[in-house]
């Protein structure tokens, strides 16, 4: 006689639902995060087969050690000028974020999203790739756009949906666009831009161009089918693209366990597609720079895509609509074991004699000033509702040319 399952002496099944280590009121617990020492991860030749470097998906590429020195094979040996530029951009980004957040609180706009704690992820990447390369960002890579020299005042015009808004008042704040700066129009829909980055890179390859694409996705959004499409297409057509997963541990209130981050690293996703994969300390400016540069070289040499998990932490709220103290210990950000990217780069520059606390103070003041000046200019054009593009523009750009419906609807509005 065959034993049916319930006749066997087996436990019953039970549904497992992930739970983060700490909720509000619990002590912060980052004991599961054990960063390997800086300099420990090997740096393979870009021509190495992805299959030969699978271990890099399970470690953490780190350059800055506890003594703030750059060590190991991934040290990009950067000119101090580049490092200072990185510090400048990150500092400016933080000042910008702070002000825009306050402006939202004051009702000058409807919405804002900070990238606090993640500035290095976008800044170092922006400096490591070429000006012609195209960034397919999420809403948390504003530092990349700032690094490209895009004017703060234009960013603010977008935030305010004012008369000079480059998006003509159509987009939610932070959804910038700037093709000439290599910045793809941000989508409110998560994940969609990741396989588009691959398509853009395929087009560049098709045309015999040199330009590559740099895509971003949050770790929570890796669960979308688009993530899988991006990896599949990138692998099949060996597209010249850098695919960055920004693992900042949280997706609004859901910790990374809900994107299967407890069971494996996000970098490890690359293995199944034969895509080269790196896991990088995202708060280490030098590591981000070096990894991005390596991936860019591979891409430009027709060696195909690289998946990079940028391991970092979302130190601020998800957005102005969010209150993280409802779902994680309020002190969690301060305990993040990989520190703050600005602080770490600053210390490195100080340790190498290129910087000082006083200089940092000045830089911060200048950043606040620059933001204030831009804000003044932008607010003179108008904050949300004070000024906006002509209402007739609302019917433009649906198609290249409006059809009769749109013409008629515009008439109905009387504009």
């Amino acid at each position: 006689m065959e034993l049916t399952p319930d006749m066997r002496n087996e436990p019953t099944l039970s549904l497992r639902v992930p739970v983060p280590r700490a909720r509000p009121g619990d002590p912060v617990d980052f004991s599961h995060i054990k960063p390997p020492p800086a300099g420990a991860a090997p740096r393979p030749d870009i021509r190495e087969e992805p299959g030969a470097m699978r271990d890099l998906a399970f470690t953490l590429v780190r350059v800055l050690n506890e003594e703030h020195e750059a060590v190991g094979p991934w040290d990009p040996k950067l000119d101090p000028a580049v490092l200072r530029r990185g510090l400048e951009i990150m500092t400016l980004t933080r000042a910008y974020d702070d002000r825009m957040m306050r402006m939202q609180r004051q009702g000058k706009t409807s919405f804002y999203m900070k990238c606090t704690g993640e500035e290095a992820v976008a800044t170092a990447a922006a400096l490591a790739v070429d000006a012609g390369d195209m960034c397919f960002p999420t809403y948390r890579q504003q530092a990349f756009l700032i690094a490209r020299g895009y004017p703060l005042v234009q960013m603010m015009n977008q935030i305010y949906s004012n008369a000079d808004d480059p998006c003509k008042g159509r987009q939610l704040p932070v959804m910038y666009t700037s093709k000439k700066d290599g910045w793809f129009t941000i989508s409110g829909n998560l994940g969609t831009q990741f396989p588009q980055a691959v398509g853009w890179a395929m087009a560049s390859a098709y045309k015999g161009d040199h330009r590559i694409a740099v895509g971003y996705i949050g770790e929570g959004s890796t669960a979308e089918g688009d993530f899988h499409a991006a990896l599949t297409f990138a692998s099949v057509y060996r597209a010249p693209v850098i695919l960055n997963v920004v693992n900042n541990q949280w997706a609004i209130s859901s910790f990374q366990g809900f994107a299967a981050g407890e069971s494996a690293t996000f970098a490890a996703r690359g293995i199944g597609y034969g895509v080269a994969a790196l896991r990088v300390d995202g708060n280490d400016f030098l590591a981000v720079y070096a990894a991005t540069k390596w991936a860019a070289e591979r891409a430009r040499a027709n060696l195909g895509p690289t998946l990079i998990e940028m391991f970092t932490y979302r130190a601020a709220a998800h957005s102005t609509s969010d209150d993280p103290s409802r779902y994680r210990p309020a002190e969690e950000p301060q305990h993040w074991p990989l520190g703050d990217p600005i602080e770490r780069l600053k210390q490195h520059l100080i340790a190498s004699g290129e910087w000082s606390d006083a200089k940092q103070k000045t830089l911060e003041k200048e950043a606040v000033e620059a933001v204030r000046a831009a804000a003044k200019e932008s607010e003179a054009v108008g904050t949300l509702g004070q000024s906006r593009p002509s209402a007739k523009t609302m019917f433009e750009d649906v198609y290249k040319e409006p059809d009769w419906r749109l013409r008629r609807q515009r008439q109905e509005v009387g504009v």
């Binding site: 159509r170 829909n189 979308e224 089918g225």
Partner: protein
């Protein structure tokens, strides 16, 4: 009876059903510990346990697919899509699978799932937090589409949806969560507690799918509306000084054709309103049905007042939103009074 706003009423519906039926479970992005970005599932995890109300990966297609598998097993999953604008990655699973399971298997398998999702504009959400995609579900044989306009109906309809043996897409007018909204957006918002329809019983009751309500009785003209636009239509009737009968459809599929026909045959005039883009919106179906059923009684063209054929623009929210002025103008045109 407690006064509930729509959020509380929806929460209560799920609470009641979780208590009543062990096969009901609730999941979606951020719905578990946090209670959802609009707090509609607040407290349900704490009260009913981790496996009965929990978070999901950010994968709308996966959420729907998992729910279908659960439904095939015999559960009654209630899933949340965080914004209706993000429902499209789940569209294939809804259209090709949930809607067809019963038909293709000749009743062998079914998908008794309820998909809740906030829809509509008026909260400065821009084009990806304001959409009204109901029409693309009404086109799909096998799906039901439900949209409440007040707390009482919200709870009763949601309970009906959960108890229904077919898949139901349940759109929640997010602009109405905290209070009715009649489109006069510069007026202060009044809380639901000031309105009768916030008298929501604590326990189990249901409002049947497929039965419309007369939100405002009238004799001069019939307005067909649902969700937020019910309140706009009522405001518009006052503004236009037209004695309009405002029909709150409550469910688009199944549709209460009798109530519609009776009213339009009596008034001879009809205005259809919705927030969604005009072309191929559900208003088109309503116009088609009304002219099919009431052609010989119609005294004027049926008017449609809808969102424009553009995305929902952040800064032009109130030009896009079909507010009481536009609805009133259509009423007056339909009355020949412009």
């Amino acid at each position: 009876m407690p006064a509930m706003n729509m959020i509380q009423a929806l929460n209560s519906a799920m609470d009641v059903m979780l208590t009543k039926d062990p096969d009901v479970l609730v999941f979606g992005e951020d719905v578990g510990y946090f209670g959802g970005v609009f707090r509609v599932t607040e407290g349900l995890q704490k009260k009913h346990g981790l496996t009965r109300c929990f978070d999901a990966p950010i994968a709308e297609g996966g959420i729907v697919a998992a729910a279908i598998g659960m439904g095939a097993y015999g559960l009654r999953p209630v899933i949340e899509i965080q914004f209706a604008d993000y429902i499209y990655p789940g569209y294939d699973q809804l259209v090709s699978e949930a809607a067809r399971l019963r038909y293709r298997s000749a009743g062998d398998f079914t998908a008794p799932i309820t998909l809740r999702t906030p829809y509509g504009g008026g909260i400065f959400g821009g084009q990806t937090h304001s959409q009204s995609p109901e029409a693309i579900f009404t086109h799909v044989a096998g799906l039901k589409t439900v949209i409440p306009s007040n707390p009482y109906d919200a709870k009763g309809l949601l309970i009906s949806a959960i108890e229904d043996d077919d898949p139901v897409i349940f759109f929640e007018p997010k602009r109405l969560y905290n209070g009715p909204f009649d489109g006069w957006h510069e007026k202060p918002v009044e809380p639901w507690s000031k309105y009768d329809l916030s008298d929501v019983p604590d326990g189990h009751y249901s409002v049947p799918l497929g039965k419309a309500a007369i939100a405002r009785a009238g004799d001069e003209l019939t307005v067909l509306a649902y969700g937020t636009m019910v309140h706009v239509a009522i405001a518009a009737a006052a503004h236009a000084e037209v004695d309009a009968e405002v029909i709150d459809l409550r469910s688009l599929v199944p549709l209460d054709i009798e109530t519609i026909t009776e009213s339009v045959n009596r008034t001879g005039r009809c205005v259809v309103v919705h927030e969604a883009t005009r072309t191929s919106g559900f208003g088109a179906e309503l116009v088609a049905l009304v002219q099919e059923h009431c052609f010989y009684r119609l005294e004027a063209p049926i008017e449609r007042v809808t969102g424009w054929d553009t995305p929902y623009p952040h800064a032009f929210e109130w030009e896009y939103f079909p507010g009481p002025k536009r609805v009133a103008a259509a009423m007056r045109r339909a009355m020949g009074r412009n």
